[in-house]
Amino acid sequence: VAMVPGAASASAVDDAISAFTGGADVSEGGVTISAPEIAENGNTVPIAVEAPGATEILMIAAGNPTPGVAKFGFGEGAATSRAATRIRLGGTQDVIAIAKMSDGSFARGAVEVKVTIGGCGG
């Protein structure tokens, strides 16, 4: 992964994840992130996340100046644990999603998005 100027440190990413999980173990798989492989404009990158059985999903952009993107909470009226939005990416980086499952366990997914023109202003 290419370094992005002003990118958050690895510990900021770890801190964001452990604040969400409370330090619990996180398994791989069960979380699907859909994003373009190459985003021409980092100001608005379409992204969707789905984790069947999740009550909450934390989305993190590991290479942005601050890693937090969003926390999706799915209520009793939700038909699926899926949400799609558009996000800002400062450069090529991994987007990570951590899902909290209804049984209290955590699962992780990640995808690399290549960004042609970064979207964090400056």
């Binding site: 601050t66 038909a79 699926t80 949400a83 979207g119 202003g121």
Partner: protein, 108 residues
């Protein structure tokens, strides 16, 4: 902000028990707080930091949003519509403003 305008897209019709896809967008520039103006001064952060959708009085989606959400924040998600009821969409701005939109939805 005076130009904030929510837009909602729902399917034209649905049967009771169907899963419908809801798309929302609200005009807002989502100022990150990272940019500087022409004289080098930081432009203060002003974003919509929370969005909620309820249907038939039940919470569907409750999103905490950071400055990494793009301008004119867009959200798409799925709701099971068991009965005709109201959708209530609410956006919370950093400046304390709350923007709310209610749409009734009929199932057959």
């Amino acid at each position: 902000m005076s130009d904030v305008r929510p837009r909602i897209r729902l399917p034209r019709s649905a049967n009771a028990g169907d899963v419908v896809e809801v798309k929302t967008l609200i005009s807002h520039n989502m100022e990150t707080g990272l940019r500087r103006d022409g004289s080098g001064d930081a432009i203060p952060r002003q974003i919509i930091h929370r969005f909620t959708c309820e249907y038939a009085g039940k919470m569907v989606l409750d999103v905490e949003m950071e400055p990494a959400i793009s301008a004119n924040p867009y959200m798409e998600f799925d709701v099971q519509v068991d009965e005709s009821a109201d959708f209530v969409f609410t956006w919370y701005d950093d400046d304390g403003s709350v923007y709310s939109e209610t749409q009734s939805f009929e199932v057959s």
